[in-house]
Structures are given as C-alpha cells and as structure tokens.
C-alpha cells in the first residue's frame, strides 16, 4: 500500500471524504502548500510513518485509504504545535481529530488505534460517573489492551501519595451527562450533526 | 646551424632541366601578362652577379621578361616588395609576383592584414624543391646536403591558391627535420641553459636590423623599437636591448610569421632567428589550432579569442 502506484482520476480521488474531513475539522486541506513546518516541529514525528505534512498531501489527493492504513494519526499528541505554526492556518490538530473519528467510525478498533481505546474508556467513564476516575481508567485500559502488568509498580506509589483514590463520590447530577450523550446520538441518527 | 651530417648527401634533388623548363614557362607567362596589359609589373628573380646566385627583379617591359629566372638560388621572399616597406612598388596597378609556396603563405598573411588585396595581384606560383642554405657551394646542384634548413621540412612545395602554378615537382625524398630537432634540443634544456644559449646568440647581434628589413611582416611605418618616447627597447646593440628586441620581434610575429626564414638568412651574425618564429608558430598551433598563412584568414590567433580558451596557467 505504502509504495503502490497511485492512479489519479476523478474516480480514484475520494474528494468527498476530504470534504468530510474539512467539515469536521473546520480547516481547509487545499491551503497546505507542503512546506513541511508541521513535520519539522512535531514531537511525535519519529513515531509516525507518514509525517504530518504527508497526511495532508494524501488528503489533497483524496487518498484516504493510505492515510487510515497508517498509524500516524494515532500518534498525534494534540499538542497543537503544527496548528500554531502553520503559515496557512491549516488546523492539522483538528484534521487529526477528524481523521481519528472517521477511522474509528469506519473500521473500529485496531492494533494501531488502541490509544483511542483509552480515549473511549475515558468517555465511558464520563458517561457513567460524570467525572474522571483515573484508577479505574488505568485498570480497565490495561485489561482491555492486554497490558496487565503495565505500570504495576506505579499504582501503589500513587495511592500512598493520595494521588489515586480507590473510591469516588459520584456526581449528583450525572443524569444530565447521559442526556447530553444521548441527545447527540439522536441528532446523529437524524443526520443533524456530523 | 651547419648541417655537417647532411653535407655528404650530394644527390641532386631535381634535375637542372626542371629549372630551365620553369624559367622558360615563367618568361612566357611574364611576357604575356605584360604585353596584354594584365599587369604593370612582374616581381621575380634574375641572375645574380656571382655565379649561381639570384636576386629580386622587377620587370615592367615585356621585352625584358627573358631576364627572369627560377632556380634553387631564388631564396628571397618577394612578398616583401608588396608591403609598405617598399612603397615604390605597390599602388601602380595590378602586379604579378613570382611566389614559392612559402612566399605564398606570407602573401596570404599580408592580405589578411589589409596590406595587399588579392585583386591587385597576379600570383605566379612556382613549384619549388627547396633553396640553397647559407654557405652552400652554388656550383653544385641542390641536394639534401646544401638545402636550406627550412626547406627540409617544407610542406608547401607546390603552392596553392595562385593564379597559375608553374612546374611539377618530381617526388622528393623525406629529409630529417633539422629545425624541429634543434627546437626539441632547446626545449629539453633547463631554463638556465636556454637562457645561456640565447644570451650567447643575441650577444652577437649588431642591430643591423637586416632581419627586420627582410621580413614581409615588418611593414610598420615606424618600428616600436625605433621609438624614443617612450623607449620600449634600448636601441643600442647592448645585451639588454638585444634580448628585448628579439623577444619583441618574436612576439610581434607570433601567429603571423609564415616561416620563410628570411630573417635568419639575412642575419650577418648567424643568429638562429627562425627558431623563435618556429617555436611561436608551433605554440599557437597547439594552443589555438592556428597555422599562419595557409589561407588568408580574417583574424589571426592573437586578435581573436574563444570564451573557453585554455587558462590553466591563470590562478
């Protein structure tokens, strides 16, 4: 995939997908002129196989399969360095958000997307408790991602320092959160939201 | 420059009858040209006072055309008589000139330098087997032994580009190029040895300027070396001035000299002047592929340039 020849035509360039990315991120893809500044400053560049600028380049050519097949989008730390310094105000951090969402929606979890798993768990926590419970988050994440012993030594240390609480008071108003989640789901079903 | 080794080889290069035939044809042509009014004068050779010698002659009367001769004694380069140096000759109408191959090269050079115009000339080329060298016994026929040095490596025996060419040469033997050999000997020396060689030779110079007088290319109205304001070259025959004079002379002839070697022949002090000329001619051929006087070329090698000329000697 990575090195395969690109056949370009109006059919093979999925510009509809690009439009979706642009709508979700609120940022233009075409504005990018490939100066490479995003990749120059990206703290995560060394972990990615497509540097950030190439992600945009592939989007310009409508090559979303190539984008989503890679792991780059799952390594973005949302540090906003790229968006801050882009000479064309291409909000690459927002584009990355959009790509992660579209990827998950299209393909669900994958080996590369298990970061998103943590994020999903995080959101589940919010939905259930209204607030974040780090202990539970870590434990469940490690279980679901199959890294049972990760950070095993860190837990007790944090607990003795009072940094991880075993029990939390539930938010008194947690029903309100559930309503927000469900309203959004409803809007999506009706096609009123992206 | 005595060719002792060759002196023994006295086999005649061409039969006496060859010169007789050429002389006859020459006279006929000259008479015709003059009587038909094609030319106003014929510059050629006539018998010298001493036996076996010849000198320049200018014939204007067809009746006297039979004074003209051609032989191995016809050493002079008659092109000289067409230049400004001999003002009396030119400018009187179309002139015929007898030219050996080497003389013809000088004519070509003079045409390129706007000194003569081809249309003012009727060139009578003569096929030449060579001329006597200095000190040759004129009673003997021309042979490898008494041939002038320059003729040993002549490549223009049968002149090209003349209006008429008289004579057809028999096949001539290949001779060792003594001038080229001498050049090679000098080039193999150290600079100090060469300096010593030339210092000794130039030291003899008496500044008689015969070399200049006889050179077809020394047609300047006033020689740089005769000027006093400023004095570029010391005029008295002192070693310093002599050295300068010969260097300047060689430089001024570089790319122009056609190698007639008249300078060397005329030098009373036996300075091997043609060596300098040959050297420069060869260098310019190597550097810029130029050979003087083969055909009239508008611009010589030192008044023209190419952007990609060699500059390996420049820092």
């Amino acid at each position: 995939m990575k090195n395969a020849k690109m056949h370009l035509s109006t059919e093979t360039m999925n510009l509809g997908f690009v439009k979706k990315v642009e709508a979700l991120s609120g940022s233009s893809v075409r504005r990018c002129f490939q100066c490479g500044k995003c990749s120059a400053g990206c703290p995560m560049r060394s972990f990615m196989e497509h540097p950030p600028n190439r992600i945009v380049r592939l989007l310009q050519l409508g090559q979303w399969e190539r984008v989503l097949a890679g792991r780059s989008i799952w390594y973005c730390a949302s540090c906003e360095t790229c968006s801050t310094r882009c000479p064309n105000k291409v909000d690459l951090a927002a584009i990355m958000d959009a790509l992660r969402k579209l990827s998950w929606d299209a393909a669900g979890p994958s080996k590369e997307s298990y970061v998103q798993l943590a994020n999903r768990l995080f959101m589940e926590n919010i939905r259930t408790y209204g607030r974040q419970y780090e202990m539970r988050l870590a434990a469940v994440f490690n279980m679901k991602s199959g890294q049972f012993l990760k950070d095993l030594m860190l837990g007790p240390k944090l607990i003795t320092k009072g940094k991880l609480k075993m029990f939390h008071a539930k938010n008194q108003n947690v029903g309100e959160i559930e309503r927000i989640f469900s309203r959004i789901e409803e809007m999506r079903k009706k096609g009123e939201a992206p | 420059m005595n060719n002792t080794a060759q002196k023994h080889d006295a086999t005649p290069l061409v039969a006496e009858s060859y010169y007789a035939a050429v002389t006859d044809a020459l006279r006929t042509e000259a008479a015709r040209l003059l009587s038909e009014g094609v030319v106003t004068a014929v510059i050629g050779y006539k018998e010298g006072r001493r036996h076996g010698t010849a000198g320049p002659a200018i014939v204007v009367d067809p009746a006297r055309a039979n004074e003209l001769i051609f032989s191995a004694a016809c050493v002079n380069n008659l092109a000289l008589y067409l230049t400004k140096a001999k003002k009396g000759v030119a400018g009187t109408g179309k002139i015929a000139i007898v030219a050996k191959g080497c003389d013809l090269r000088a004519l070509a050079g003079l045409m390129a330098e706007s000194q003569i115009r081809r249309e003012d000339l009727h060139i009578i080329g003569v096929a030449c087997a060579g001329v006597f060298g200095s000190g040759a016994d004129r009673r003997e026929p021309l042979s490898a032994g008494n041939l002038a040095g320059k003729c040993r490596e002549c490549s223009v025996g049968a002149p090209e580009g003349a209006d008429i060419v008289i004579g057809t040469l028999p096949p001539l033997p290949e001779l060792s190029p003594v001038e080229a050999e001498e050049l090679a000997r000098l080039e193999a020396m150290t600079p100090a040895e060469r300096w010593a060689f030339w210092k000794e030779n130039f030291a003899r110079c008496i500044r008689c300027f015969a070399c200049r007088q006889v050179c077809p290319f020394c047609y300047c109205e006033q020689c740089l070396c005769d000027r006093n304001r400023p004095q570029a070259v010391e005029t008295t025959p002192r070693p310093a001035g002599n050295m300068a004079w010969h260097i300047v002379r060689a430089m001024h002839l570089a790319g122009r000299c056609a190698g007639c070697a008249e300078c060397e022949r005329a030098c009373p002090m036996d300075i091997p002047l043609n060596l300098l000329n040959r050297k420069m001619a060869r260098e310019l051929k190597e550097l810029y592929g130029h050979e003087a006087g083969l055909t009239p070329v508008e611009k010589g090698p030192l008044v023209i340039y190419r952007e990609d000329d060699d500059q390996s000697f420049i820092k």
Binding site: - | G135, L186, E187, M189, P191, A192, E193, R194, W195, A196, F197, W198, K199, A203, R204, C205, I206, L224, A232, V233, P237, R238, P239, A240, M243, A244, H246, I247, V248, A250, M251, A254, G255, P268, M269, D270, L276, K279, M280, E283, L284, L287, Y288, P301, L302, V303, I304, Y305, R306, E307, D309, D310, Q311, F313, I314, K315
Partner: protein
C-alpha cells in the same frame, strides 16, 4: 619577520576587478607582504607584453598580471584577448630561458580581497625562495658587445679588406 632577500614584485592589474579587489583587501585590513607595487590599467587587454619585459629589465624579480574573471570584463572582451596574448608570451619567455615561476597570472574579482592577498603572498614567498632574478640584471650591466668575430664569412670579409 625580516628576510635576507626582499623581492621586488610588480603587479599589472585592471582597475575594475583586481585593483578593486586589492582595495577590498585594504578595507578588510588583510595583511600581505609589502613587496608588491601595483600599476593600474583600465583592463588587462591594455597590458602589453613589453611592459612585463620592461619590468624584468628594470629589476622586478617577479611580475603579476591580474584582471577580471572571464565574462566579467568591464569592456566585455579585454581579458579574453589578454588571456591569449599572455598564453603566447609566457611560452616565448620560457623558450628564451625565463623561469615562468616568476610570472604569475590570476583572475581576482572586486569581491576577492582574500584571493588577492593569497596570490600576492604566494608569489612573494615563491620569489623569495627563488632569489633575485639575476639574468636580466646581468644583461643590464653588460655594457659591451660580446659577439665573437669568428665566423668563416666574417674572417674572409675581414681578410679581403
């Protein structure tokens, strides 16, 4: 540092490139040996081989000719003509026995102050190790004609008087 022998070096330079390059070396306060005397010409095309000869005769131990790089000539082609002229002239000098190490040619542009310093320094150092140019100086001091009257023809002529 003092040396036993301080050569006299004459530089013939064009005004537009090398002279300006030497000026630049000055304004940049670069240092080089004080042996060189600079004569300014409009163009290397103006430099006559006779000048070089004259400089040697008048006691120069080394001569430098320097001008614009090919293509940079203020007069378009002067340096091209000079290049041919000097290519020929140095061959002639070599043939009469002048050591060409004493004659340097260079292209130094108005921006090459550093190159000027390098060229002058190298040449000065080189000539310093070579020692004085004795040949021309000896000629200058030889007052008398030293030719020999020994050729056969001259003897014969002399006897015939």
């Amino acid at each position: 540092m003092k040396h036993d022998f301080e050569p006299k070096i004459v530089a013939f330079v064009c005004t537009w490139c090398t002279y300006a390059g030497a000026d630049l070396a000055g304004t940049s306060r670069m240092q080089y040996p004080a042996n060189v005397r600079v004569l300014k010409f409009p163009c290397t095309g103006r430099i006559d081989p006779v000048f070089i000869l004259k400089a040697f005769q008048k006691g120069a131990d080394g001569v430098l000719v320097s001008g614009c790089h090919p293509g940079d000539c203020h007069y378009m082609a002067g340096n091209f003509h000079a290049r041919r002229r000097f290519a020929a002239f140095r061959k002639l000098l070599e043939f009469v026995g002048v050591d060409l190490a004493r004659l340097e040619f260079s292209w130094v542009s108005a921006a090459e102050g550093g190159k000027w310093v390098e060229v002058v320094t190298d040449l000065t150092e080189r000539i310093r190790t070579m020692g004085p140019l004795a040949e021309f100086k000896e000629l200058e001091t030889e007052e008398h004609w030293s030719g020999r009257l020994e050729t056969a023809e001259l003897k014969e002529a002399y006897n015939n008087i």
